[in-house]
């Protein structure tokens, strides 16, 4: 081994260190040559995991820092349908400074009736906002824009959408209102529910005058409170308020949030995304582990004589193993530090690049948890892939000092090393599973990764003997290519494992994406209604049906009563104490749509219990969606208490239903017996399904007619909602694909490392071939053929595995129809072939450039 003398120093201090550390430091004097791929592979995976954690931490820190502004106070209370009245109102107003707002979906129309748009309408009182400020782009104050005289401030998108400008008027409900300003920023927008339309701000008084609010309307009343400062710590103040509210207003049915977590839904979503992307980062780290294994094996291979010399001088196996293990940990540490630093820059880069697209301004923060998680993964993966070659190094025979070896024979590490490797693998899997909220997903992911590695390791091992067994082709280039595929110590195994894992993941992501997009753009629109109509008054039902049929005779109309309420108790236990399965937890967060029915709703199938008779008049009964019931631990006969319009209603579970949600027909998680809710003030929810051949113009004409005839109702065009969801989904998939691409980059690094390791042997081989008369063209062709054969084989197997994984994910986990896309799969496979060929061509160019003579001389 050549040592660069000028780089070596010999400090004396190491004599005081333990022997293993002293020896490891001396061995490391050679620098990092041969370990750059190791460091890069570890750094890449750690950077992804750190970056994901850093972004989540940054957003969480922003929430906490800006919580007061985001929520508009110290606490925010919200409930549907009913404002705070009477005793509730006086109690709330006594707790501190308070602001009242009401938000609902509504239709905003051009005053000439030629166009309309779904908007998020918000009425605000004089105190709003308690914290922060609404900024209007024209420089007006909110009071001037909407409070002094009736008027609206709108999201600029709405002006574009309806072709309006400041000064024009907008029809909302029964009112025509002048547009006075456009909204720049709204401080507490993020803490409200997911919005489907542009914002329109009015005063509360104006909102009441539109006629849109009646006792059954789907309006959300919200109260932001600044508690009186009493010097107590914030946590104590908030806890005290919660307790006081439970005692004073036990059946008010408010959902309460405080400034420490302004949007629990967003927090939960971010956390899930963080965990999922961490798993993807771990997959990249595992692929990089192949590069780690190659680098360590190559390094130890070059040091066989030194290891043998150590043994001849009295070094035990423990010393051999320990010295090199310390080196591995040191090198891994460099990769971990580099990756952590890179990862910390990711939120900075994203904030600069995405800016306003992020929900809030992200602070720079990185928790110890995120840093330690990434470091732990980096170390465990490095150890997992290093232990085997380290174990084999212990077994280097001292005979190598006396005899030249043609090629070292295959040797298994001792049992202790094998057990340690398995233990590290188990620890890694356990860490991944138990640090994730969705443990089942994490478990299947670990299983999937193990399977993929097993398949590709097996494939890599199988290719070589198969290639050696093939009858030698006549064409020399092909014979050389196949010969290289089968040669011991060749590229085959490294390329197949590293590229195969990354490609399988990308094919899976591509096909899942394709299936979901097909569901949103092809399957769902075919079977789903054209419109959902909210807040249709009960006494308008007949007139509505008549109007729709007069416009489109073959239209199909469904109607159902709709209220909103919050689950307060599950089988007698308070909802906040229920440990629901992750897929059912959402039902307990905030208020839900409720309905009642005389018969089993269309699109539902009874799977347990009995439906009540149409004229049932006994104790309140409820029908639950079967999966939700299972997730909440509810069975037939248990009770559910729901707060509706400020009153707690307890009903017994009479039956369970299976619901085809993807049909988008009218369905609810909770459907009550009619006698339970019929007497409560409420409106109807309706769906309108037009014949397939109905044109866009017919659809638009119908919507305008409904808007004119029923100005208090809101029509949601399903295709627009699906498009909006599609945009969000595309962004999420972009994040997933980006993270998944890191796996491919890790594979490329491993490939580069394997090529570098094989370089000397390839140059030597090329020198011999040239001496025997081979042209450079022939050598180049043989190398390219080898790479292309490997790439095609690997990508074909990746395509099969990726397709199977996507089918499982789509049909079993998402319960959607699987849509295969040959184009999506071919794109990914083409990328692989290109990548391998490009690397291979570069490597071969270097081989052909190298001088021949030095490699033909005897040593």
């Amino acid at each position: 081994m050549t040592v660069v003398v000028s780089d070596l120093k010999a400090p004396v201090l190491r004599r005081r260190l333990p022997l293993l550390v002293s020896l490891a430091l001396r061995e490391q004097r050679n620098g990092l040559k041969g370990f750059y791929v190791f460091i890069a592979c570890v750094a890449l995976g750690v950077a992804v995991i750190t970056g994901v954690g850093a972004l989540a931490d940054a957003l969480r820190a922003s929430f906490e820092r800006q919580g007061e502004t985001l929520i508009g106070g110290d606490v925010a209370l919200a409930r549907p349908h009913r404002p705070a009245e009477g005793q509730e109102r006086s109690w709330l107003w006594q707790q501190g400074r308070i602001s009242e707002t009401a938000t609902m979906r509504a239709m905003a129309r051009r005053t000439d009736g030629t166009d309309q748009a779904l908007v998020e309408l918000k009425g605000v009182d004089a105190a709003y906002p308690l914290v922060g400020a609404v900024s209007l782009l024209e420089g007006l104050s909110l009071t001037a824009a909407v409070r002094e005289e009736a008027g609206v401030a709108v999201d600029p998108i709405l002006l574009d959408r309806l072709g309006l400008k400041i000064g024009d008027s907008l029809s909302i409900g029964h009112l025509k209102l002048p547009i006075r300003a456009s909204i720049g920023a709204e401080p507490d927008r993020i803490s409200e529910r997911l919005s489907v339309g542009p914002r329109v701000l009015v005063s509360l008084e104006t909102l009441r005058r539109t006629g849109l609010i009646d006792p059954g309307s789907l309006v959300s009343w919200r109260y932001a409170l600044k508690l009186g400062a009493d010097g107590a710590p914030l946590a104590d103040q908030l806890a005290s308020f919660r307790n006081a509210m439970k005692e004073a207003l036990p059946e008010a049915g408010f959902t309460l949030r405080d400034r420490r977590d302004p949007s629990p839904q967003l927090s939960r979503t971010l956390e899930r995304l963080r965990q999922f992307l961490t798993l993807v980062g771990l997959a990249a780290l595992l692929v990089g582990g192949v590069g780690v294994a190659n680098a360590v094996a190559t390094y130890l291979d070059r040091r066989r004589k030194v290891i043998a010399a150590f043994k001849s001088l009295g070094a035990s196996k423990r010393i051999i193993f320990g010295v090199h293990l310390l080196q591995v940990i040191f090198i891994a540490g460099i990769g971990i530090v580099a990756g952590s630093l890179l990862g910390m820059l990711i939120p900075v880069a994203l904030t600069s690049a995405l800016g306003d697209a992020l929900p809030i301004k992200a602070d720079i923060a990185l928790s110890a948890r995120s840093l330690l998680t990434a470091a732990a993964y980096g170390l465990l993966v490095s150890l997992l892939f290093s232990l085997w070659p380290l174990g084999r190094a212990e077994a280097v025979p001292t005979a190598v000092l006396f005899r030249d070896e043609v090629a070292p024979g295959p040797v298994l590490p001792r049992w202790g090393v094998i057990v340690l490797t398995l233990a590290i693998g188990a620890l890694l899997a356990a860490f991944a599973i138990f640090s994730s909220e969705a443990r089942l997903l994490a478990f299947y992911s670990c299983l999937g990764v193990l399977l993929v590695f097993a398949v590709f390791t097996g494939l890599g091992a199988a290719i070589s003997p198969v290639a050696r067994g093939i009858r030698r082709p006549r064409r020399p280039e092909l014979a050389l290519a196949i010969g290289d595929l089968g040669a011991p110590g060749g590229l085959t195994r490294s390329v197949v494992i590293s590229l195969g894992a990354g490609l399988s993941l990308l094919v899976t992501v591509a096909l899942v994406d394709r299936s979901v997009v097909a569901e949103l753009t092809e399957h769902l629109p075919e079977s789903s209604p054209n419109y959902f109509i909210l807040d249709l008054k009960r006494d308008e039902s007949e007139a509505f049906q008549k109007l729709v049929r007069s416009e489109v005779g073959e239209a199909r109309i469904e109607q159902a009563p709709m209220l909103r309420g919050r689950i307060m108790q599950v089988a007698g236990r308070p909802a906040e104490q229920v440990k629901a399965a992750p897929e059912a937890q959402w039902v307990l967060n905030g208020d839900r749509g409720l309905s009642y029915a005389e018969a089993v709703p269309a699109g539902s199938k009874l799977v347990a219990g009995q439906w009540w008779p149409a004229d049932y008049a006994g104790e309140p009964l409820v029908s639950l969606e079967a999966e939700i019931a299972k997730g909440l631990g509810l069975k037939l006969g248990d009770t559910v208490t729901v707060n509706v319009l400020g009153r707690n209603v307890t009903a017994r579970v009479a039956n369970l239903r299976e619901v085809k949600w993807e049909s988008l027909s009218l369905n609810f998680v909770l459907v009550f017996s009619p006698n339970t809710l019929q007497g409560a003030p409420h409106n109807l929810l309706a769906t309108v399904t037009l014949p397939k051949e109905a044109s866009l113009a017919t659809e638009a004409k119908l919507a305008q007619a409904i808007g004119r005839a029923f100005p208090a109702s809101t029509a949601i065009r399903v295709k627009d909602a699906l498009d909006a969801f599609g945009v969000i989904f595309a962004r999420v998939m972009l994040a997933v694909r980006s993270a998944g691409s890191v796996t491919l980059i890790a594979g490329a690094l491993v490939l580069a490392g394997a090529l570098a390791t094989a370089q000397r042997r390839r140059i030597q081989q090329a020198a011999i071939l040239k001496a025997l008369g081979a042209t450079r063209r022939r050598i180049l062709l043989s190398h390219l053929l080898e790479y292309v054969l490997l790439a095609v084989l690997t990508s074909f197997i990746s395509f099969l595995i990726g397709t199977a994984a996507a089918w499982l994910a789509v049909t079993q986990a998402m319960e959607l129809e699987f849509t295969f896309s040959l184009w999506a799969a071919l794109q990914t496979m083409g990328l692989a072939t290109l990548l391998v060929a490009a690397f291979g061509a570069f490597g071969t160019w270097r081989v052909l450039k190298a001088p021949t003579i030095p490699y033909l001389r005897a040593d």
Binding site: A10, S22, R26, A309, S312, G314, T398, F402, R403
Partner: protein
Amino acid sequence: MANNLISLSNVNLTLPSRAGPVAILRDVVLNIGTAEAVAIVGPSGSGKTSLLMIVAGLERATSGRVVVAGHDFARLDEDRLAAVRGANIGIVFQAFHLVPTMTALENVALPLEFAGRPDAFERAGEMLAEVGLAQRAQHFPAQLSGGEQQRVAIARALSPRPQIILADEPTGNLDGKTGAHVVDLLFELQRRRQSTLLLVTHDPGLARRCGRVIEMQDGCISGAELVSA
């Protein structure tokens, strides 16, 4: 027999190969006493180096008994063999086999460190001075000439004050003049310390500097000669 430091009884060494098992050593019987200097000569492939490796415990005999410095090698596992070797046997290789990332001083100290000696570096310094390289203590092997490297290797082999020195063609990679100096040093140290020396060589002149010359042919000891002083 009672004073034999090295005792090989009917030792056979057979190694596997693609063409079938190959007998490297056949029924070797060899006894060497304390402070003896013995040369092993013979053509290439006669088993000289393999015999050295058996005595060093670097290769296990297929059959027969190997007792070195009172230790029956058949009863020792690899780690205990390494410990015995570190304490009792010093090996000088043809290719030096110095650790390239360690200085001359560190190379010499290495066997003492493996043996757990707290004064490893002090003794290493003394040893380097004995071979005349005290001023090169902080130099790395790549900074030393061939002769200097072999002197460091000799210092390393002798630093644990072993009873037995094994030398495999110690001048094979050196020019004539340098080789002569190295050999003089080796014999001087062997004599001074009363160590047993087992030397493999192609050089008849070098062989005759030992007290006994053993000839090997086809894995067997074909002859032995006492050399008059």
